[in-house]
Symmetry: C2
Subunit: 253 residues, 2 copies
């Protein structure tokens, strides 16, 4: 959120409002920071929930687990993201929100945010978070429905880099970043098994495309990684420098 271009998809008319909303929210969240240990569940599906959070550092995810053990990460949250904005609108959430690495979160209770929500700037900033999540969900639905395991993994690694860049966690154009997900967790997000995650990672490593190891992603050939992910990128990502290697900017296909 250090880079205003993180709002790049929006309408110019709204940019100022979103930035003001961001400032106002920061003021409201200020002082409430607290650490959360890796593995903690912040929100449990089906339980009444009256807080909205900002993830200051660390990674989190929205995940759905069912009785027979199937588990799907629905969204991954990175530093700067607002978590559970929907708390403003729903009695309870339909999925768990879990912290994936040691993290720091700020929080705000329903009543306070509800009052603030009558401020147009704050309402816009909240709506923006939901709209942006929906964009990512669209891509993810397409990926799970139509993408191969290779495409999905390439897409995920590229998308994480793009989001970390836009939110200012990593510098523009870096090719290595910390990524705390285990292979099992990657599998739960990608909708494949951890055995197959391992196969694809080895393939990518052998092909000199990307090396994922010890909680770090090292991109060896950004052009090739982009090429493999490209079918799954949406028109926004395809035209945004933070997501794709230069050769592919705005390309069709």
């Amino acid at each position: 959120m250090t880079d205003p271009s993180c709002f790049a998809l929006h309408r110019p008319e709204l940019e100022d409002s979103l930035l003001r909303g961001e400032q106002k929210l920061r003021a409201l969240l200020n002082g409430s920071a607290r650490p959360v240990a890796a593995g903690q569940t912040l929100i449990r599906a089906g339980e009444r929930h009256d807080y909205v959070y900002r993830l200051v550092s660390g990674w989190a995810c929205r995940t759905r687990v069912i009785a027979d053990g199937r588990d799907q990460f629905i969204l991954v949250f990175l530093p700067g993201d607002l978590l559970a904005v929907k708390s403003l609108f729903v009695k309870w959430h339909t999925d768990d929100v879990k912290v994936l690495s040691d993290a720091v979160v700020q929080q705000i209770d329903f009543d306070t945010l509800h009052k603030a929500h009558s401020d147009v700037d704050v309402a816009n900033r909240c709506m923006w978070q939901v709209v942006e999540e929906e964009r990512r969900l669209h891509s993810w639905v397409f990926s799970l429905g139509q993408g191969s395991a290779e495409e999905r993994l390439a897409f995920l690694l590229l998308e994480l880099r793009g989001r970390l860049t836009l939110s200012g966690v990593i510098e523009r154009n870096v090719v290595a970043y910390e990524m705390p997900l285990t292979q099992v967790q990657l599998a739960d997000h990608l909708g494949i098994t951890s055995v197959h995650v391992n196969r694809v990672l080895r393939l990518f490593r052998d092909a000199g495309i990307v090396d994922v190891r010890d909680g770090e992603v090292v991109i060896l050939n950004l052009r090739e990684l982009t090429r493999r992910a490209y079918p799954l990128l949406d028109v926004y990502e395809r035209s945004t420098p933070e997501y794709v290697s230069p050769e592919f900017r705005g390309m069709q296909g």
Copy 2:
């Protein structure tokens, strides 16, 4: 939208606001109704778009098509739904919106709705549409990532019935409803091939569970259909009478 309980997941504090917002939106949309022929594309990905729509009758979908022919229906819209609320926030959409059967839509341009959006009730009603879509997207991500073809198809047929009931298109507890999707279109939504859709439909028909034919769904055994879909239902749907057969209300697992 004839049934206020369509807002069942929300907070009681907001129910009145949502209903007021609905009335205000209706007033704004009034008079703009126009027919749209089946197959028409209402919104094209990547093009500037300045309208928000209400689907008065007929079915529509948000879909992403890529160059190699892969096509995924991301969301299906039913009568009463607002389409493209995100137009308020994004310069262009990342996916097409296509009308699936002869339909009637009302529309409102960006400037008018933007002014109305400063009204809290209207803003809430718009946010609600996006939040509800996100809930469905969560379930769909889980389904595509973890569900078998049988589970997904059962889930879809059950969900469509539930939504049609909540929005007042069909009566409570009916077991047959019109469903204009072809097997190819079902396949595009479910993330499988039309050949496999056909296989599963035959299986369901032979097992006396549900008969899908000639643009109509006839549920022969609601209990069994619910059982097959159950793993994919979210906690909201599991506890809502419109979605599940009585025996399963609120069941875990």
